[in-house]
Chain length 433, copies 2
């Protein structure tokens, strides 16, 4: 089980405030579980890990039927239909693979931008490849993925013919209605349903995340087990020590004290996209009614030589939430050198993991002394089980946190403003006024 | 020449404040050019584009001597010795290349983190490859790159022997002193000098950026020409219309009005690392004395389905600076479909570039209506010349801006706090108290 450490944050919070906030966190958790809070019809993610056995089986079956046969699979999706899988793949794939744990198929993403440069590079990459498509969209009409799907389908029809194209498309979409569901019916695409009560940013443990993650060769059973193990602890621990209660209370306490920015940091490039996933989760859940912490992310120690200067000495408006991971099996030690010109002999024989861990402690001490509260969470390594743990912990913490803040954790009214402006400018029928 | 558009920002600034700030921007520019401001001995980057002809020649020569012969080149560096090249490579490489414009050598990075997972993946990747190393460090003793260099050199010595290892290492380091310079002397590595009066984050147009960018197969002559063309305009335009004056004035005006976060946005994934480069530039130059805008970055339209919700509806503390690029030669149009189930027929025959550009306008309208000022800058496409333009424009704007803020744009005292804590924890000789 992951561990949450709070002492470098709570020292910035008066005991009395902390007590108040812990109380509010318990109430928020009860509100969430009672189904009486805002947006309560979108709570399907809470016990999702209990109900995905069939989905796991189906995802693994599709993955193994494509494995080895296809060179590449394009996963089409944006926002919550993209970031969970992207995050898990980045965490679990070899650093120097384009995507995926196996040589074939390589997993690439499409439909998460409107860039012509990106699309032309993607088409170039696919030119000489046998490829398939996983298209993920609840409605099937979100502009970016819908365009990417139309373009790629056209290419597939021309190159592979209708029968092979049909076999090489899997849709993850609404179980009953919507454009993509209609296409599945008409053309006979294989499909998985997006559960009704699960919003995009809470969907990584559903078919939305599981299919692309399975396709990449990851063990999605372990992944869901990690989430389930987290769920069993976090939903049942009624004490103040429950990490969800702790984390939700602390970040709201700091927000009330005037902190404006939460910086998610990692010390392992494999967790780069965890920062992106967290930014969506918190920004969309809390960033409304002119409220909410602004979520940012940093990769350390890399960015200590960049935004680190600001964290240390800039405006005192932020706190840090660090996700720390031990390294995997392989040990890398500092070797002997021909000489000691680099002055590193004092590190000889020590592992990179130890040095990285000291860097993490040093950074925390430096930042705390500079007035930046620091919450940190430790997992023993980056693998499927631990990623499942992290996803579940943050989803639950975010929902509880948003209830403390007093907003609906499950809507995103601000996203529609841009969508409507875009439709109007493009002259979409019905939006031309 | 790039174009800066300011009307969606200036409408948020009272005319009187704007006038005051424009005056201060002119003064700051004069202070910078007079050499009487803080940190004035680090202004070597201002006319750097005029003095790099020999460096360009040497970089191209080294690049062509390795081209085709090596499978991979590891560029070792962190902070300013990393981000400029990474940004340029990401912008100019094929999206689905690991790094570089040519099939060989692939350019990968090392020494920008202490992660054991990363290093073990890197060593795995290099296992069966003929590779070389470009090691970039002014001193040669910064922990992250020094460790990576020690590890990789050991591997090279064991696999290639001392003679070939010597031929496959190029150092970019201080011209006279320091650990890496000593190694060059002792082992006969080829080397380029880091100019004395150019700090890391202002160094992309020096040997620091030019060598890895040339190695990747990019045209560094065009790149420097872009910067030179920008320089000629920006240093000589004494009017209020000078984009540097405009941009520096506006961002400081917004900061004084209470804006706390500057969000750098792009609409092309190729510019993802421009955001990272900009964050270092501004955070290290301005984030001190408990002052400065917090720099964040977003990739759009991707992140409209993520942090976009916060931008639209969260706390009203940010403004946006958008970098917009037309697409390259290849046109991608929305094709005909078998049916119109996706409802996209109204876009049939239109290019992705047009739609992306409408999305950009729509986003701006939505955000401005939500109280988020928007500055935007347009380049016609992402290529060497335009990247040179952008780098120069932002370096100059940042220095002028920091002078308006009243801080030294060229130091980074906060970075040392972490370095010293790390040395102490690791027991480095002289730091143990």
């Amino acid at each position: 089980m992951f561990k949450l450490f709070t002492d470098c944050a709570t020292r910035f919070i008066p005991e009395k405030s902390m007590k108040v906030l812990l109380g509010e966190a318990h109430e928020a958790m009860e509100l969430l579980l009672s189904g009486k809070g805002k947006g309560a019809d979108m709570r399907g993610w809470i016990d999702l890990p209990l109900y995905v056995d069939d989905v796991i089986k189906e995802c693994n079956e599709i993955a193994s039927s494509w494995a080895g046969k296809l060179d590449a699979v394009v996963v089409i999706g944006i926002g919550g239909s993209y970031l969970g899988a992207k995050c898990a793949l980045k965490a679990l794939s070899h650093t120097f693979s384009l995507g995926g744990m196996k040589p074939k198929p390589v997993i690439v993403f499409g439909g998460y931008s409107l860039s012509e440069d990106y699309m032309s590079d993607l088409l170039g990459y696919l030119k000489d490849k046998e490829f398939g498509v996983i298209v993920i969209s609840k409605s099937g009409t979100t502009t970016e993925p819908a365009i990417a799907f139309r373009i790629l389908k056209k290419v597939m029809l021309e190159r592979f013919g209708p029968e092979v194209t049909r076999e090489r498309i899997v849709a993850v979409t609404d179980g009953e209605k919507g454009a993509l569901r209609e296409m599945c019916k008409k053309y006979g695409y294989r499909s998985l349903a997006v559960p009704n009560a699960v919003g995009g940013r809470y969907s990584v443990l559903s078919s939305v995340g599981l299919l692309p993650i399975a396709m990449a060769g990851c063990d999605i059973r372990r992944f869901v087990e990690g989430a389930k193990d987290a769920m069993n602890v976090l939903l049942n621990d009624k004490s103040d020590e429950n990490p969800v209660i702790q984390y939700a209370a602390i970040r709201n306490a700091l927000y009330r004290q005037g902190k404006k920015i939460e910086v998610f940091v990692n010390y392992n490039p494999k967790l780069k996209y965890l920062g992106e996933w967290l930014k969506q989760l918190f920004a969309e859940s809390e960033g409304k009614e002119t409220k909410g912490l602004f979520p940012a992310s940093l990769d350390l120690t890399t960015d200590l030589h960049s935004v680190g200067q600001y964290i240390q000495d800039g405006e005192r408006t932020m706190f840090e939430t660090a996700i720390l991971a031990g390294s995997r099996e392989v040990e890398v030690k500092i070797p002997e050198a021909e000489d000691n010109l680099d002055g590193l002999d004092y590190l000889k024989g020590r592992t990179l993991e130890e040095i990285n861990s000291k860097a993490e402690t040093g950074t925390r001490l430096a930042h705390v002394s500079g007035g930046v509260p620091n919450i940190y969470l430790k997992i023993d390594k980056v693998d499927e089980w631990n990623m499942g743990q992290l996803f579940y912990f943050f989803e639950l913490s975010c929902a509880v946190s948003a209830y403390i803040l007093g907003v609906n954790p499950f809507d995103q009214p601000g996203v529609d403003v841009y969508k409507n402006e875009l439709y109007r400018l493009l002259g979409r029928p019905g939006y031309t006024d």
